[in-house]
Structures are given as C-alpha cells and as structure tokens.
Amino acid sequence: SPEEAAFQDKIDNDIKIEPRDWMPEDYRRTLIRQIGQHAHSEVVGQLPEGNWITRAPTLERKMILLAKVQDEAGHGLYLYSAAETLGVSRDEMVEMLHEGRMKYSSIFNYPTLNWADIGAVGWLVDGAAIVNQVALQRTSYGPYSRAMIRICKEESFHARQGYHAIMKMAFGTPEQKKMAQDAVNRLWFPAIMMFGPNDSESTHSEQSMAWKIKVKSNDELRQQFVDQTVPQIEYLGLDLPDPGIKWNEERGHYDFSDPDWSEFFNVIKGNGPCNVDRMNARVKAWEDGQWVRDGLMEHARKRATRKVAAE
C-alpha cells in the first residue's frame, strides 16, 4: 500500500516514526512487546538488587545501590510512557506481565547470592544492556529512541559504579576476591545470553532489522560485549569464566563458547532459578497494593468533586 511505502521510506531515510504517524500493525505490536518487556525488566530488575540493599556493607554502598534501583524504576516509568504512545496502558501491560503474556529479561531470573553479585550486575548486566541500548538509540520509533538516549546516560554510570564495586572485591581480601570470581562465574553466561539466541535461531530478527526496531544483530552485539568485557576481567585479575575465551588475531575479536541455549529456553519457559519467586513477589506487591491505589484514586475523585462544588 502507499502508506506502507511511505512508512518504509521514512525508515530507510532515518526519519523517526512518531506516535501519530501511520504504522503497520505488526510494527506497533512488535514495539509494544519489545518496549513493554524492557519496561518490565526495569521493574523486575529491582528485586535481585533490592535483595542486598538491607545487607549492603557500608553506608556509601547502600546509597549507591539505592540510587541505582531508584534510577531503574525511573527507567521503567519512561519506558511505560513510551509504550503508552502506542496505545496500550501501563495497567494493561502490568496485567499481561502478571498473567505471563509478557516477558521480562531472563537475566533477572538469576539470584544475587553474594555482595560481589551487586557489582557484577552493574558491570555485566547493565554493561550488556548498554551495548544493546546504545544501538537502540538509533531505533526508528521516536519515543523509544529518545527514552534510550536518556536511559543510556544513567546506565553507563551504573556500569562504571558496578565495575568499581567489583574492583574493590577483586583487589580485596582473598574471600572478597573469591566472591568476585564466584559472581563472574555465575553471571557470565546469563549475561551473554541477554542478547538473545544466535542470529541463525532468532525468530523476530529479520523484520525488526528492516523496520530498524533492531539496529544490530544479536551476535554482533554479543561479540561487542565480549570484546569489551574480557580485558576488564583480566584487569581484575580474575579467571576467565569460560575456558573457550581466546583472542582471535584473524577475526580481531575474542572467541568464546556458545552458552547452553537449552538453559536459556528453559529459563524463558519459566524454569529459571527465580522465575516463580520474582513473579510471586510482583503479583503480591500489586495485589497487596490494590487498596492503596483505590484509596488514592477515590481521594482524588473526592477532591475534584469538592473543588467543583466550591466553584
């Protein structure tokens, strides 16, 4: 159709699509899925980090962690707003999350088990997210692109803080170093799985690339992350978490082992270490909070009525 042609033309010329522009239903649906999932990830992502807020070892570390979690909740807000421009409400998306009809990033289905995990989450998980999000700054949908630009700034700050935190551990006492190693060992493969399946297996990719919803392929992004992270692990003096990691002179990249994709699909299916607990926590928070939302809403209504009556 001519609408479709005009739409694709904009995309090809790097003109952002805006909420009021015509767009194919599938473009809209794909974006809602992707932005919603991203928003949910920010919200659910509070839980593994929140798990250590009450046990952070110094006042300053606790402040840094609280500020980070606060930022993430804020990112959730921007992203829900971006998704809402596509005609879906935050409450609808939350409902879909709670009913299992929308996902969040599988990385948050792994537990945070020692204090170094908090550093590692900032460094590896936020690090991987940034690689993805930097690419997404050029995504074709305007509100999403602008949210990404805003979010990226804060995320790189988090990643740096995470690296500093784990540096303290890696250069600390033998036990601290052991915690750091343990964290890297456990989180490495889940982190590189954050970029999604190999390009050959990725179902939605081709159309998303054509629409510039995705800008780089999963494997490209993963390689970029590995290349930037391996030297950091080495700098920390930690053992590499994958014996397959090796500099490949010819490619100009690090080789690395393929993660266990059966685990990846298993976690997506709901069988990750924390899927059930994470969803239970969110659903409980939502249900326990119903009276609060109702109460505040009713109060707002009363006030509005009183104001009208007074006028």
């Binding site: 929140g50 807020i53 006492t173 926590a281 326990d288």
Partner: protein
Amino acid sequence: MAVDKDKLLQFLLRIGDSTLVLSHRVSEWCGHSPILEEDIALANTALDLIGQSQMWLGYAAEVQGEGKSADDLAFLRDAWDFRNVLLTELPNGDFGRTLLRQFLFDAFQSVLMGRLIKSSDETVAGIAAKASKEVAYHVERSADTVVGLGDGTEESHKRMQQALEYLWPYVGEMFESDEVDAAMAEAGIAPDPASLREEYDALVGRVLAEATLTIPEGKFAHKGGRTGYMHTEHLGHLLAQMQWLQRAYPGCEW
C-alpha cells in the same frame, strides 16, 4: 561553654540512629510497593535518610574521638548501643502504616531541624541546614499520602486508623527529655524536645484531621529507644541483616 562530650555523642546518636534505622525499614520496600512511582519515592526517602545518617554518625564518631567512622558506628554496634526512637524500628506493616510512620517521624524532624539550623554547634547547624531541605520535601509528601489514604475509600480509611492506633503510643518518646537534652538545651546546641511538642501537635493535628483520622485518646508512650534501655525485639533482627557482611568479614574494604 564546653558541653559534656558523651552527652553530645548521645544526642547525635539519637538522630543519626533514628534516620539510619528508618532508612533500613523504608528500603525493605524496594520493588514491592503498590505503584512504581512509590518505589521511586521510597528509594529516594531511604537514600536521603542514609545520607543524613552519614552526616550525623560521622560527626558522632568525630565527637567520640576513638578514630571510628560512621560505618563503624552503623555496622559494629549491637542493639543496646543504638539510640534510635522505637518508632523507627517498628516493622513496616502495610504500605499505609509505613507512610504514616514516615509522616509522624518527618513531622518531628521538620520541627527539630527548624531549630537545629540555629544550633550553637556549627557542625550541627550545618547538617541540619542540609537535612532540612530534604525533610521539608519528605513531610510534604508523606502528609499528602496520609491524607489521600485516610480520606480515601472506606477500607483505606480503616487501615490508616488502625495504623494510627498502633503507631501513636510510639510518638511520645520523641519528646522525652532527660539530662542529655538538658545539657544540649543549656549549651544552645538543641532545644528541649518537650518544647517541640506544641508545634508538632499543631502540624500533625492538622494533617490527621484532613485525613479524617482520629488521634487515640491514651496518653501512654512507649520508651526505651533513645536511652537504649529497652528496644523492641524487632531491632535485633534488623541489625542481623544490616550488619551481616561487616560481621562475617571483618576488616574488609568495600
């Protein structure tokens, strides 16, 4: 006029421990609040409170003069050495109780900080000046939520009234006066807490009235937190979590 160092220390611990313990409680909400905006607001509140603790306990450590840091005071004292008011260590309960506790404490802090900015002790005045901006924001926010929930639905009203019945007996402790307070007042460092009650009652009375909540009649007040004589059973469990890493791995840098 020279003030007794130990009394000044006690005074500082009373404020610094109260903000520390309350920040811990508030931070327990992380990721579990009823609305995403509230997750942000609660994290922000906890953050401000810790920031204040860092200043109060930092000065306390300096006054103590044993080469300790604010972290040492926060993470290496047992319950009996804590001087927070009992109100701050009570379990969160539901969201309404958490916010009402916050308001009852914020209101006290707002009155207190208003006086401490004129303290004869420059460090105290300086910390109070920084804290008072945050506190003004906190009390406005918590008051709004208390009004919204108190004057909301039948259920939200009932829950807030129950929360008030539970919390009110812990309000009086904030206005207790003892020889520490007398020494602070005499040295012009801080007002006698009893002298803050009128302003507090006016502020709290106004907000609770707007929230359509009824202040319980009894005059009874729990105490024992700010003297350390008798905390609740809850504090020990809180500290077991808070201090875990520092206790299990002593002497590390984090």
